[in-house]
């Protein structure tokens, strides 16, 4: 039995979650605090990956990072290939995860009493310091919940990954893709094992979220 897809999926999901956090935290903060006019439009763009067909997302992502796009060319020129590598799988998973993190965290930021941030300002703190010492700690629960949801979504991505990374065994074949191939090949016992592992991993993580969400001040 080949466990490569398990390790690949873990790595890809972790990397995708990190990428989601890096882009999603500032985006959520921006949506919650700074963009009253752009909010509806940007909000719709952010949520779109939840409802668009994965093939559509995958197609455009492929166009964006393919060898003929400026982005693809740039990465190629520095010796990094994107399309049909594990890096593309990371990008695919991140695209799918982004809305879950951003929406959860945006709600968390919006739930903060604005006077707490004002109080910090009057006490001599810069915007940067207010963010790290007041806004983020108070949105902590939403951040944890959003991160875990994002990770679980990344772990389970099928369609976008298939479009941009393919399903190359030993290179880009993640857990969900491997299960699909196993079922197609009628290797049910192995498919069963991998599927069960996925369920257990996700349930453990979601229970963890429940825990984290119970932290009270």
């Amino acid at each position: 039995m080949d466990f490569f897809p398990v390790w690949l999926s873990l790595r890809v999901s972790l990397a995708a979650t990190a990428l989601t956090l890096l882009a999603g935290v500032p985006l959520a903060w921006f949506l919650a605090r700074k963009a009253p006019r752009l909010k509806d439009l940007l909000g719709a763009v952010v949520v779109a990956p939840l409802v668009l067909p994965p093939t559509v997302l995958g197609y455009y992502l492929l166009v964006l990072i393919g060898a003929r796009s400026p982005i693809g060319r740039f990465f190629e020129s520095v010796g990094v290939e994107l399309a049909f590598t594990w890096r593309a799988a990371v990008l695919a998973a991140a695209v799918g995860s982004m809305p879950l993190l951003v929406k959860a965290l945006q709600a968390g930021f919006e739930g903060i009493d604005p006077r707490l941030e004002q109080a910090a300002r009057t006490l001599g703190h810069s915007e940067w310091s207010v963010f790290w010492r007041v806004s983020l700690p108070l949105a902590w629960r939403s951040l944890v919940a959003g991160t875990v949801l994002a990770f679980c979504r990344a772990l389970g991505d099928f369609g976008i990954t298939l479009m941009v990374a393919g399903s190359i065994p030993g290179r880009t074949q993640t857990l969900p893709l491997a299960i699909y191939d196993l079922v197609q090949a009628n290797r049910m016992n192995e498919a069963n094992l991998l599927a069960a592992m996925t369920i257990v991993a996700v349930l453990v993580l979601l229970l963890g979220v429940g825990r984290a969400a119970r932290v009270r001040y």
Partner: protein, 371 residues
């Protein structure tokens, strides 16, 4: 010491105020929605006025003409928010230390220690805000604001989140703390006794404007207008017509009575006969005439009237009586004409609960004619 001029327009509200104070402690009093909190936010730099100027001592914090707008974090102020806005994720000690930065740990710890001791918060430093009572939260908020040794202290309804008995006690504590601290302080409140006890100067707001700014005693005895008297919740603000006016006396007709009052020293002209005029009578200055001592002596009693107590309420140390005059026609204040306050002891001795019909008098000096 403190000079404030602000203009800020919204679609449905415009703040346009100017006031100054040489006294350290100022109260902003007025109905809700009159622009008091917005003024504090402008002073704190949390809202930006369209026009105006804010000067604290020697420092200009805001000047639209000169393009000065010191950001909140550099204004060196302490802001106690309504409801306190304590950081729920930090302990009382961490809350108080929040504004102390760029100093050594030992120095911060010592400063926080001094503040907690001063405010009577010993032993509560490790508790989080939700574990503290309302009064303790209020003092932590005060400590957080004072720890940074600000140039200006802003308090937004500092006592409104507390229940009545605690409120009265903490009012005294707050008055002491603010006096000991001794730097410019602006307190927003809609409670006149609170403003009177805590502050030296009272600025009365109404619909985004200042209707009067005066030292507290002057404001209490000489409200600038009927509006001010009503905003301040002065009871028995009444309207009569002038019968005759001289520089030091005014005769008024009100509810069929001829009342004699002292003319307002602030009045620049003598009102003509038959002119309508507003005045107020302090409930605690109305004197009930004892029935067991013969007829009322005209030397001691003037402006004598008769009426029936139609309603009364026990306020613990005093009783408030609502009296309707023995006069036909609609009463001046809904179901009654005059509110009268008597000490508990007087209420018991005179057996007012049983005996409802009384004769009473008001000294001419206790009828305050409004300008």
């Amino acid at each position: 010491m403190l000079s404030v001029r602000l203009r800020k327009a919204f679609p449905d509200f415009t703040l346009d105020v100017a006031w100054e104070s040489r006294e350290p402690v100022v109260a902003l009093v007025g109905p809700s929605g009159s622009g008091k909190t917005l003024t504090l936010q402008c002073l704190a730099g949390l809202a930006t006025p369209d026009d105006g100027r804010v000067v604290v001592g020697e420092r200009t914090l805001f000047d639209a003409k000169a393009g000065v707008d010191v950001p909140s974090r550099r204004r060196r102020l302490g802001y106690v928010f309504q409801g306190y806005a304590l950081f729920p994720h930090l302990t009382a000690r961490e809350n108080i230390a929040f504004g102390l930065r760029g100093q050594s740990r030992a120095h911060i710890a010592e400063r926080v220690e001094r503040i907690t001791e001063w405010l009577g918060l010993d032993g509560l430093g490790d508790k989080r805000p939700r574990e503290l009572s309302g009064g303790q939260q209020q003092r932590v908020a005060l400590g957080r604001a004072l720890a940074v040794d600000p140039d200006l202290l802003l308090l937004d309804e500092p006592l409104s989140a507390l229940d009545a008995p605690l409120r009265r006690q903490l009012r005294g504590d707050l008055a002491r703390i603010v006096r000991e601290w001794g730097k410019p302080t602006v307190i927003v409140t809609h409670d006149l006794p609170e403003a009177y006890q805590l502050c030296d100067r009272i600025v009365v707001y109404d619909h985004g404007r200042v209707v009067q700014s005066a030292p507290r005693a002057e404001l209490l005895w000489q409200p600038a207008s009927e509006t001010v008297a009503r905003i301040m919740g002065i009871p028995n603000v009444l309207r009569g017509t002038v019968v005759k006016a001289t520089p030091d006396r005014i005769q008024l007709r009100w509810r069929g009575q001829l009342l004699e009052a002292v003319n307002s020293p602030a009045r620049a002209y003598l009102p003509a006969a038959d002119m309508p005029l507003a005045f107020f009578i302090r409930p605690e200055y109305v004197r009930l005439i004892r029935k067991d001592r013969g007829p009322a002596d005209p030397v001691h009693h003037m402006n004598v009237m008769r009426g029936t107590v139609v309603e009364d309420a026990d306020f613990g140390t005093t009783w408030t009586l609502r009296i309707r005059l023995d006069e036909p026609g609609p009463p001046a204040q809904g179901a009654f004409d005059l509110e009268v306050e008597v000490p508990h002891l007087v209420y018991e001795i005179l057996e007012i609960d049983r005996d409802r019909h009384w004769e009473f008098s008001i000294h001419r000096g206790s009828i305050h004619v409004l300008p």
